[in-house]
Symmetry: C2
Subunit: 128 residues, 2 copies
Amino acid sequence: MSEKKLLRPTDSELAILNVLWKRGSSTVREVHQDLRPVSPIGYTTVLKLMQIMTEKGLVVRDESERAHVYTARLTEQKTQRQLVNDLLDRAFGGSATRLVMQALAGKRASASDLAEIRQLLDEMEATK
Amino acid sequence: MSEKKLLRPTDSELAILNVLWKRGSSTVREVHQDLRPVSPIGYTTVLKLMQIMTEKGLVVRDESERAHVYTARLTEQKTQRQLVNDLLDRAFGGSATRLVMQALAGKRASASDLAEIRQLLDEMEATK
DNA sequence: TTGACTCTACGAAGCGCTTCGTATTAACAT
DNA sequence: ATGTTAATACGAAGCGCTTCGTAGAGTCAA
């Protein structure tokens, strides 16, 4: 009963999470300064978003200092996993294989990338 | 200048597109009857959604008959490609490899699936 | 022609996301 | 104490998505 609903970060939320994953725990100002160059956005807008993300449980907030410090609640990997599974259900009928196909098609992955994927396949077959 | 913006179908729109891909060109009633068992939804709701999808260009409408016939404008594959690319940009920093990893992790794919992916990798390396 | 059905069209409510302006509170220097 | 700076809190507007009720128009049979 602890997990009520699968939370899907919106685009804006994902942009903020990306900053938190890259920088680690950060204040609103730090996130804002990271985000602003990419897309102009007001300081209070970022603040509001991060407040809402706190309510949603996407981030946790340390209020011990005057400038609150925010931390992503889930790791980047866990979030990626959720997003992939979600897309899998919505648009691929649950077929991971077809999603992999689409992900690789057109994208020329480097030789080392391909090798990495091959290794993963090997491991999956080994632990069958 | 023909493609203005990358269109991302919403959940509801994707549900409708899935029906159109499965059944082929369909009327609102046909889509509604396919959708209703899964999740209860009003007829006019589906109608409205499909009207909006027409405006967006997600589907095309044949009005020659009294009951309009709708067809998905993009193939399932093209749409899947777009969605994957979008997720790639938003949450994976563009790394298809990492997305593939997350898609396969935890999902035990069948042996034939794995073989299929291996073959794709082979082809990609061949056409290097 | 009237009635029963079956469509589409229209409009509006409710909610969530995004945006920001304004108010308030805290910290610090003078 | 007072003014400046910097932070959070609050509220509201605008837009898109989702939902549906109601109105209006087409079709067919009696």
